[in-house]
Assembly symmetry: C2
Homo-oligomer: 353 residues x 2
């Protein structure tokens, strides 16, 4: 899997840092977007990534710097793929069909904006909403201004009905399952309901001990596949061979965690699910010296992010969502070259096991 950082800036997009957006690419042309701040479609252009490649979008929370680029991205994705008939009743079977995941309210946001901008889409889409846990609302400012709960807006003609996803007993939300890559969400503590996404590749069967198989007289071929699939086979001498006798321990898949804005996780689900992550993408809006201010605004510092990364034994930590108060170093400044080199290296992080 590969992570491309399209935006690592907090609060608003600047000339130096885009607003939050990350692309995850993987096998079989997998191309998913995580958060979509204003300007994300322009950042995609800079990377040479056509919006039509993105098949799923995950929105961590509804603050503008994480979602205001989504309506425009949908419009552009539609204009660049005008061949699909927007009234096709099989639109959800089309390869350009798009699944969008995000907190309650995202569906109404998209419906209202698309309706008022009179935006027809050349592809179908569905919005699956995560129902926040009650405690995710408690720190939300502004309790005196609550929107009507039931308001949902008018279903868009190219929209298909989505799910309301509730947390499992362990506190995690199952978003994508049944394939080789599972996606769950965990609840975070922020000023508004915010989520972290955990992508876990299925573990792969261990390595075959081919020397041993040769000694036992098993010819390379279909039998190897059966063993890898966990089936026992009968040896030429009539004996039964259990896969465990010739298979190494299963190889764990990559685990990638992309967190939305937060002071930290809401409950133990996050640390449990992120255990041994290959990469944790975590915000660090302000420097350690401004921790009190960061917490007051529902944000983290590098130390806070690192503490959580250590707790779940993450192999790598990618800090992001930096306050726009931190300007890029001038070319002449001490350390600027080093920082630039790190940034270039980080822009695209490839995960391999």
């Amino acid at each position: 899997m590969q992570v491309i950082v399209l935006g690592s800036g907090a609060a608003y997009p600047s000339v130096h840092r885009g607003a939050s957006a990350y692309v995850v690419r993987g096998p079989d042309a997998l191309c998913w977007l995580f958060d979509c701040g204003e300007g994300t479609q322009t950042q995609l252009q800079r990377c040479g990534l056509a919006p039509g490649r993105i098949k799923k979008v995950f929105i961590s929370h509804l603050h503008g710097d994480h979602v205001f680029g989504l309506p425009g991205l949908l419009c552009t994705r539609s204009m660049q793929n005008p061949s699909v008939e927007p009234t096709d009743s099989q639109i959800d079977k089309h390869p350009l069909f798009m699944e969008i995941f995000g907190p309650r309210g995202l569906r109404r946001l998209l419906r209202t904006v698309l309706e008022l901008s009179r935006t027809q889409l050349s592809f179908g889409f569905v919005v699956h909403e995560l129902e926040p846990q009650v405690q995710q609302y408690t720190e939300a400012a502004w309790p005196e201004w609550q929107p009507p709960e039931e308001a949902q807006g008018l279903q868009h003609p190219q929209e298909r009905p989505g799910r309301q996803v509730l947390p499992e007993a362990d506190g995690s939300y199952i978003l994508v399952s049944g394939g080789s890559l599972e996606v769950r969400a965990v609840s975070l503590r922020h000023r508004a309901p915010s989520f972290g996404f955990v992508l876990a590749e299925e573990e792969r069967p261990g390595r075959l001990n081919s020397q041993r198989l040769q000694d036992l007289g098993v010819p390379a071929g279909p039998l190897y596949g059966q063993i890898k699939a966990g089936q026992s086979i009968t040896l030429p001498n009539g004996q039964l061979l259990e896969p465990s006798e010739v298979l190494g321990p299963p190889i764990p898949g990559c685990k990638l965690c992309i967190f939305g804005d937060c002071i930290g996780p809401l409950d133990s689900a996050a640390a449990h699910l992120c255990q041994d992550a290959d990469l944790l993408v975590h915000e660090a809006t302000l420097e350690d010296g401004l921790e009190a201010k960061a917490r007051a605004n529902g944000h983290s510092t590098p130390r806070g992010a690192a503490t959580f990364a250590a707790e779940c034994h993450a192999r790598r930590l990618l800090l992001t969502h930096f306050s726009q108060r931190y300007k890029p170093l001038e070319a002449g400044q001490d350390g600027a070259r080093k920082v630039r080199a790190y940034e270039t290296a980080l822009r695209s992080t490839v995960l391999r096991r």
Copy 2:
């Protein structure tokens, strides 16, 4: 008055051309925004213009490339001016109070997006909606999907009630009046209700014939001001002096017209109101050879724009809203240097009389 083009691209923002947005600057720190496509706030940063300077916003129509940057601009304007108390009951008297004008639906769009993103603002705002004329809907695609007319959303805590602006007998909408700069809107023909804005400076009193005044024995000073204000004065010899005897013809103010997407005007109000404009900003989405395609999509070509400019005797025509199919010329290509020079000159057009 000065016009700054922040974006001249159609449909979506690209790396080369921002989505539609223009800043008009004038005397007394006047700084108004016309249209606000996605990425406008980043373009403002590039020009060194803080969002707090913008006191009025005019949205031509609700297509995404003209309005999707507005919610983010409001958020950033708020974060950069956190001193104002958002619950201040006098918020509409504060110098940061913002007036927003646009077609029916804009108020609900802002309410819904600000509500769902839980955006408190540090300044007050008001949305004045232009009620489109019935004929502006007839060419709108998609009649089978009509939103409920009455839906307005929840009034935002920092919002003040706005006006519903109806057209006058001549078909024009009065948006700003009573000061030295009047703003009216005219109806255009597009796929969605779209408007053009006409800014007309008040005419100024003519030049004083100071030689004549000297001959008549009028000393320079407060009496000059009285004459300029149109008052007659008594000469030292007891005679009455009418202003017309010593004042040249009134000097007409600048007239600036900024049109939203259109095939052309809906009615005669536009040509009448734009007569003798100093500058007409008009879209030219596609080249003349693609006129049929342009019309089918509710757009114009350079020839169409020039025809209207000639009809109203506009002194200058600024073409804009170019399809993103037109890429910038490579540095080596024929004419590229010339085009670049024109573009630089056009980026900021200053109007003087």
